[in-house]
């Protein structure tokens, strides 16, 4: 068998990239088809229904739910402020009335004669969706959002934390395997997307955050540093909503691991250019990986390298990343695709492939333990 399917991460100097910018609920779309937008431009906005506050009036008035309606001072649709009387008993001969002031401001949504419960909804919460990526609006979804397309260079990372941001790419390391430490971060990196090489240290992230960098990208990170940064041990890889003040992306994995040389060189080639990044990672169904998007002025001419390999196919000569010990992090080349399963050192039987390591040695690894470097 000369080919086999395996997934991989995308790293490419050019692709026509499309991103959907959708509101969580229906609202207004501010752009039209054909518009050119920039990353921080608001393309759609709406208001989320405000917070809901239930008020159990039957309990507070000490009466059956069915009697509550007779005591209501406000009705559905009315606006109430904190302290406004919402219900009042008739009292005895006009005296000894019990009044219920509202503890929240908002609009009375419902009053239930079945439960004696009033629902007050708070002020609407504004929500804005930005373009995120500079490009052209190619499709408008009325009331929902739009789709933006651009010619971009694209790097898919393996894991990230923090959400969408944008900035100028600045190289902090000179080599793809150079550890990214605090000493590499300078004050002029405020608002930048800092690109390192090997593992990023906790001090580097802290310093980047202190100078006001938008994002920090490098080959690896230590789990202990991530835990300290987040303040908790991440149990499942569903991220993107962290409020760290910086977006953090690793391209290869956890531990002492160098960024793939090709990725490093590519990002180096885009130093000084604007890019959009998103650390959101969701490693479950509907997988989402962090990304670095560099909009290009124009599509470059097709190079010899692009399209050499079929997407998702393992082929002889194709570069792969070993993603498990004992060769974790090594970029190797497929040298053989035996069809018969082999017995591993663990005793398990699995389908394997042969790879040529950078040292020139050949090794046999399970197919499950390599990842294609998609171009």
């Amino acid at each position: 068998m000369a080919k086999a399917y395996t997934p991989g991460l995308l790293v490419t100097t050019h692709r026509r990239h499309r991103c959907r910018r959708i509101l969580p609920i229906a609202g207004d779309v501010n752009v039209s088809k054909g518009d050119q937008v920039v990353a921080d431009q608001v393309v759609a906005e709406t208001s989320l229904p405000g917070d809901v506050n239930p008020v159990n009036l039957a309990n507070q008035l000490s009466m059956p739910a069915s009697d509550v309606m007779d005591c209501m001072v406000v009705k559905e649709g009315d606006t109430v402020e904190i302290g406004d009387t919402v219900a009042q008993t008739k009292g005895i001969f006009g005296f000894m009335k019990t009044t219920i002031p509202s503890k929240v401001a908002g609009t009375v949504e419902t009053i239930s004669p079945v439960t004696g419960q009033m629902i007050v909804r708070g002020a609407p919460l504004p929500v804005q969706v930005k373009a995120y990526m500079s490009g052209e609006v190619v499709n408008v979804l009325p009331g929902e959002g739009c789709e933006i397309e651009a010619d971009v260079a694209y790097v898919q990372g393996i894991f990230g934390v923090g959400g969408e941001t944008a900035g100028t790419i600045k190289m902090a390391c000179q080599a793809h395997d150079e550890e990214l430490d605090a000493k590499h971060i300078t004050d002029d990196m405020a608002g930048a997307i800092i690109v390192g090489g090997g593992r990023m240290t906790a001090q580097a992230v802290e310093r980047a955050r202190a100078v006001g960098a938008a994002a920090i990208v490098s080959g690896g990170i230590d789990d202990a540093d991530l835990k300290n940064m987040l303040g908790y041990d991440l149990g499942v890889a569903i991220t993107g909503r962290e409020q760290l003040g910086i977006t953090v992306i690793v391209t290869e994995g956890f531990g002492d691991i160098a960024m793939a040389a090709r990725t490093f060189e590519m990002l180096k080639g885009f130093a000084g250019q604007e890019a959009s990044v998103n650390g959101a990672t969701q490693i479950r169904a509907g997988v989402m990986r962090p990304e670095i998007i560099v909009p290009l002025d124009a599509a470059p001419p097709a190079s010899e390298g692009s399209g050499r390999y079929e997407e998702g196919q393992l082929e002889i000569g194709r570069p792969v990343r070993c993603i498990r010990d004992p060769h974790f992090g090594v970029i190797a080349e497929v040298s053989g695709l035996p069809s018969e399963p082999a017995v591993l050192g663990s005793g398990s039987k699995a389908r394997v492939l042969e790879v040529k390591l950078p040292t020139g040695e050949h090794a046999v690894v399970p197919r499950a333990n390599v990842e294609l470097i998609e171009e």
């Binding site: 959708i22 239930s112 629902i119 890889a237 956890f254 591993l344 499950a368």
Partner: protein
């Protein structure tokens, strides 16, 4: 429901079944061979629900193509579809599938009292094969605005609302409806998708509940009360409705499922629902108590049938890949490492765990990596079983008839019905158990995590075939039963374990069968050969205070079955206790590993 053509079971000779899991899609081929149905080939491929593929059928076709190559039978046509009906050389007569991809079925349930109607609603949702994201109850300790915020944050596929017995007061359950409606919960898939709400509560409140959900984009479905009286649950109608909505709404929204549903000859079932069906069938036919476990990448499902009462729990973040980091966090690393008989660098290990989490499909290549993953698996299974025991209880809120003898027992309902001493069969499935290089490892993982007591048969679903058979049983029960008997379960052997007052180094029990005999001391284990297919009558004489099923110190004589591993004699006592001191712990573990032949040196043909 999806309309499916009716097939004549007698004409079904080639059956293709897939299970689309969150990590891999597993396909099996069942053929009519020599007068019976047998599982003949299997294949698997990564599931392709995620981008860039975003089409589950690609993984299905890849796994089926692998089977086709192995079987020498063309199963996928040039148009990329599965070929039906079968001819002598190609295609299948029926294609069926289960699914837990796309995160499976995710539900929120609500009930008035957490321990009563809400617990029953949770049981109904779990029994239907769902993951329960949260349980909202009037007495769950959260304030109403906190409950509403939680409902808003969740993105369930559907909501099951229950509360009240038939004819009882209506206001509490209507109050719950009034919390859910304004929260406007958003479904996971599709902005134009109306949130399905299943109401299975007090029948007197149906009108009021309908009114509450009449506006705001809800699709309200009313079924019979799942707790019509406190003393009885009626979970069937709610479970059936969950299955219907799963097919009509949820599956139709997941990437590629509309296409897949057009290919199958029977409705797609949620994977755990299918497993539950087949286990209940086995327990009923054989009249035994069964516990089944399926440890996956993201979750661990535990199923139990004790005295014909079925329970299922899903431990949402206890799994071996997506959730491996959570297992280590929840169990703590020292608890994981107590199962490893050598030193490991903790910083490196933590990074390995995270790397497995972000690249969930990798497999251990070295012996050390395998032993570490099996240590994590023991902890994941232990925690999942603990949660199961806490959930599988007698009905709460039921008045107990008490006699004078019960005066001091303080039992008021709600005790766990899981009794390890009454457990007859423990079935393992899921990658780390099914794909363990040696079945001895599977057996030891089960014993260490579940701590069965007395005499318990151990088995594994060799290639995770139970889901396929669960759905096959709905269209061809005979084929499902035959394959279950012949090919699905691999009997590992029998565990004979001492409970009670076991003293380290002192005799716990003596045993004899088939001319063999011996003594097991406290803290020791032994493995005695009894091949697959053979049975023997074992005689066990426990010392005073030690129980093997007949009571402390009482002799036991019972028939036991052999298996691929044999008879495991366990004198470690219950609950299992390991030495605190690391070196002593490593020596103890190594002793147990050696006693049970867990790992043996085999020639590895691949470089490591």
């Amino acid at each position: 429901m999806t309309d499916t053509p009716t097939l004549d079971p007698d004409k079904i000779k080639v059956i293709l079944a897939t299970d689309c899991g969150s990590t891999t899609t597993k396909a099996i081929l069942i053929q009519y061979v020599d007068g019976g149905y047998r599982q003949t080939h299997r294949g698997e491929a990564p599931t392709t629900v995620e981008k860039p593929f975003a089409d589950v059928t690609m993984g299905v076709v890849n796994s089926v193509t692998e089977i086709g190559e192995l079987a020498g039978r063309k199963l996928v046509g040039d148009d990329g579809r599965i070929i039906t009906p079968a001819t002598d050389t190609e295609g299948c007569d029926i294609y069926i599938s289960t699914s837990s991809a796309g995160g499976g079925l995710q539900m929120m349930v609500a009930g008035v009292i957490a321990e009563m109607t809400a617990a029953s609603a949770k049981r109904a949702a779990l029994g239907a094969g769902s993951i329960v994201m949260d349980v909202i109850a009037a007495n769950d300790g959260r304030r109403p605005h906190e409950q509403i915020q939680r409902i808003r944050d969740l993105r369930p596929d559907m909501i099951l609302l229950s509360g009240g017995t038939d004819g009882g007061t209506t206001d509490k359950v209507v109050q719950l409806a009034e919390l859910i409606a304004p929260a406007k919960p958003q479904p996971r898939f599709g902005s134009d998708y109306e949130m399905p709400i299943i109401y299975a509560g007090n029948n007197q409140a149906q009108g009021s509940v309908s009114e509450v959900f009449s506006e705001g984009g809800f699709d309200l479905q009313i079924v019979d009360n799942l707790r019509p009286v406190l003393e009885r649950e009626n979970l069937g109608p709610a479970r059936d409705k969950i299955h219907d909505i799963f097919l009509e709404h949820v599956m139709a929204q997941a990437p590629g499922y509309d296409k897949l549903m057009g290919w199958t000859g029977a409705p797609i079932m949620p994977t755990p629902g299918a497993v539950g069906d087949i286990l209940q069938t086995v327990a009923r036919i054989q009249g035994i108590n069964v516990v089944g476990v399926d440890i996956g990448g993201a979750t661990t499902d535990v199923f139990s049938v004790f005295d014909e009462t079925f329970n299922r729990t899903v431990s949402a973040n206890l799994g071996m890949s997506y959730s491996i980091s959570n297992v280590c966090a929840e169990a703590t690393m020292p608890n994981v490492l107590r199962w490893v008989p050598f030193d490991m660098d903790e910083r490196e290990l933590r990074n390995h765990v995270k790397n497995k989490m972000i690249r969930p499909t990798t497999i251990p290549q070295t012996r050390e990596a395998l032993m570490f993953e099996q240590a994590v698996a023991r902890e994941a299974l232990r925690l999942a079983y603990k949660q199961h025991k806490e959930f599988a209880t007698t009905l709460k809120g039921v008045q107990q008839q008490r006699t004078v003898g019960d005066t001091f027992t303080q039992e008021t309902g709600g005790e766990t019905i899981v009794n390890n001493m009454k457990l007859d069969l423990l079935v393992a499935s899921g990658g780390v158990l099914s794909h363990a290089p040696r079945m001895h490892q599977t057996a030891m993982l089960l014993i260490d995590a579940f701590e069965p007591e007395g005499i318990t048969m151990l088995a594994k679903d060799s290639i995770f075939m139970m889901p396929h058979l669960g759905v096959l049983a709905s269209v061809h029960p005979k084929a499902a039963e035959e394959v279950f008997d012949r090919d699905c379960l691999i009997y590992l052997g029998t565990c004979v374990a001492a409970a009670g007052n076991v003293k380290a180094g002192k005799t716990a029990f003596s045993w004899s069968f088939n001319g063999h005999s011996g003594e097991i001391k406290g803290g020791e284990m032994d493995l005695i050969d009894l091949p697959l297919g053979e049975t023997a009558t074992i005689t066990i004489n426990p010392v005073r205070g030690v129980d093997l099923g007949a009571g402390p110190g009482k002799k036991v004589e019972r028939e036991i079955k052999g298996g691929t591993v044999g008879v495991i004699l366990d004198g470690r006592g219950r609950p299992l206790a390991l030495p605190e001191e690391r070196t002593a712990c490593q020596a103890t573990i190594q002793g147990w590993i050696d006693s049970c032949d867990m790992y043996v040196e085999e020639e590895a043909t691949a470089a490591v």
